[in-house]
């Protein structure tokens, strides 16, 4: 096992220099090989705190990454707010099946939110991870961005149309979603999370325009980030993010995580222009390097990521569960391998 993981990761996400390249994954880390090795499988480990913690710790004990994270799926807040969830199976994560609201309805924030659905399971799992390995590795609590939560509350197609036609009608939904994400994030920090990762998948330029991002996603990411402070936030957005990099910086996030299709040189330049010190996380293509790839390919991309100036070498999004341990571990560069 590598040394100094927690400290190295917590420095790296702030854009500070580290004695060796930090390597981690800030999105889901479960793989079939870890499940087999640990004897902990999906779907159970998405519903039971001890099992969730057990599989998450594999990112430390098996993959040797600098951080561990819960949860694996992206459905917990939505479920607690009324979405119907398919539980998945041993190969597939839970997914959202039903959307409780139409755009013209008024969303409701349940006062007992933190006791609903699997939120207590997630908080308990994080606490357990912290107790067991929190001295050695950084512990990441994952929450979903408000914009993405709203997309699931009313269904993606209706949501897409609403962003153009009825943006004002989304306001109350976004407020409720931000409250939900804030309460969960604060609970996770209380349970021992060192860092909160906000995954705002739908705030991607593959889904919306920079203008819509600025109007409907950014203000709520900013609010959420400021309410999580002083705990550091990693903001993860899938797909191409170059056109929104400056507002992403302005959320106050400690670090940004994105896919390799984004031009990292432009991101670094933007950070410099804003006079900020912000960690840049990514560089590894989840499909090309980890799923279709092999250890040689993954290692070459990790070396390139270090060279390109990523502060944390990481998959650009969730680890594909079918990726092998050997390929994932090929990302683990030694200190002598980079300048």
């Amino acid at each position: 096992m590598r040394n100094g993981k927690r400290e190295i990761f917590l420095k790296a996400i702030r854009g500070e220099a580290t004695e060796r390249p930090s390597v981690a994954c800030v999105n889901q880390t479960g793989t079939y090989e870890q499940m087999a090795a640990l004897g902990i499988k999906w779907p159970d480990s998405n519903f039971d705190a001890d099992l969730m913690a057990g599989l998450a710790i594999g990112a430390h004990t098996i993959l040797d990454l600098d951080a561990v994270r819960v949860p694996f799926c992206q459905t917990i807040e939505e479920e607690a707010l009324g979405c119907g969830v398919l539980i998945g199976d041993e190969k597939n994560l839970p997914s959202i099946a039903t959307h409780p609201y139409d755009i013209d309805m008024t969303p409701h924030f349940p006062e007992d939110y933190l006791t609903r659905g699997r939120i207590p399971v997630l908080c308990k799992a994080l606490k357990k991870v912290k107790e067991e390995v929190g001295d050695e590795v950084a512990v990441i609590g994952g929450v979903i961005g408000p914009f993405t939560i709203v997309g699931e509350l009313i269904g993606i197609n209706n949501f897409m149309v609403a962003t153009l036609k009825h943006p004002k009608m989304l306001h109350e939904f976004l407020r409720v979603a931000t409250k939900a994400a804030t309460q969960l994030a604060q609970a996770l920090v209380q349970a021992g999370a060192d860092v909160i990762c906000i995954e705002d998948m739908l705030a991607s330029m593959d889904m919306i325009s920079p203008k819509i991002y600025k109007e409907l996603a950014w203000p709520w990411e900013e609010e959420l980030t400021s309410r999580i402070a002083p705990a550091p936030v990693i903001l993860h957005i899938c797909g191409r993010v170059n056109p929104i990099i400056k507002p992403m910086i302005a959320t106050g996030a400690a670090a940004l995580s994105f896919e390799p299709k984004t031009d990292v040189a432009a991101v670094k330049l933007a950070i410099q222009e804003e006079g900020k010190k912000i960690g840049v996380i990514g560089g590894i293509d989840t499909m090309k390097d980890l799923f279709f790839g092999n250890p040689e390919i993954a290692r070459a991309s990790a070396l390139k990521a270090a060279e390109d100036g990523y502060d944390v070498i990481a998959p650009g999004c969730s680890i594909p569960p079918g990726a092998t341990t050997e390929t994932i571990k090929a990302m683990l560069l030694q200190e002598t391998e980079t300048c």
Binding site: K91, M160, D206, I208, F291
Partner: protein
């Protein structure tokens, strides 16, 4: 109605898609039918407009909400035009046979936005498209394809966990000894050309526009 009016209808339909205006698309389609304009041409014109938007999307000049709305406008127009096309088909005047495509997102996967786009685009380019929605099992694909004597089965997967289901589908068709009866296309955010080749698919489309091109080649 003269040629000029017919041209005006065509440009109205084109603009309705470009401006993603459902009302204009529907009334344009109604005018086209009333004026005796070539309904197949009308569909094609809207398809071309969708392709233009698709190209804008690649360049980050057009974004998904616009595409979704344009697609909604096109569907409105199709409600009016589809019955007319079926009449032409029945009377044997629709030109060459319209190949039937069975499309869906594979079992375990609930993502539909990309698949919907491909379905819409194919509809405008001379295909009869039957959309089975999401979470579609291999046997559901096969049952429908058999029932309708489909030419193409198109399977979308958006997650690394559901990508292997595209292979399951092809293995299933092989096991049932019906693989040769259909052309199988795969696509979706995580699929690649190499993957399509590896699992023995007949075609792969990186996006909706390419998907339609491949479908045309497969049925040429």
């Amino acid at each position: 109605m003269g040629k000029q009016d017919k041209d005006a209808v065509m440009s109205k339909l084109h603009d309705a898609i470009m401006n993603f205006n459902e009302d204009e698309a529907r009334s344009g389609a109604e005018e086209a039918v009333k004026s005796g304009a070539d309904v197949l041409k009308a569909v094609e014109v809207m398809g071309d407009a969708m392709s233009e938007l698709g190209k804008g999307f690649e360049k980050m000049e057009v974004f998904l909400p616009e595409i979704v709305m344009a697609s909604g406008a096109l569907k409105e127009a199709m409600k009016v035009l589809q019955p007319e096309i079926l009449k032409l088909v029945a009377s044997g005047t629709a030109g060459k046979k319209r190949p039937i495509v069975i499309i869906g997102t594979v079992k375990g996967d609930v993502h539909t936005v990309g698949k919907d786009m491909v379905a819409t685009m194919m509809m405008t380019q001379g295909f009869d498209v039957v959309d089975l929605g999401h979470d579609v099992s291999p046997s559901a694909f096969l049952d429908k394809a058999r029932e309708l004597s489909a030419t193409i089965i198109a399977a979308s997967a958006l997650m690394s966990t559901t990508l292997p289901v595209q292979k399951d589908l092809i293995d299933f068709l092989n096991a049932k000894n019906v693989r040769q009866n259909f052309k199988v296309m795969v696509g979706g955010g995580v699929a690649t050309k190499e993957w399509a080749e590896r699992i023995g698919a007949d075609g792969y489309g990186q996006d909706a526009i390419e998907g339609v091109e491949i479908a045309k080649k497969l049925t040429a």
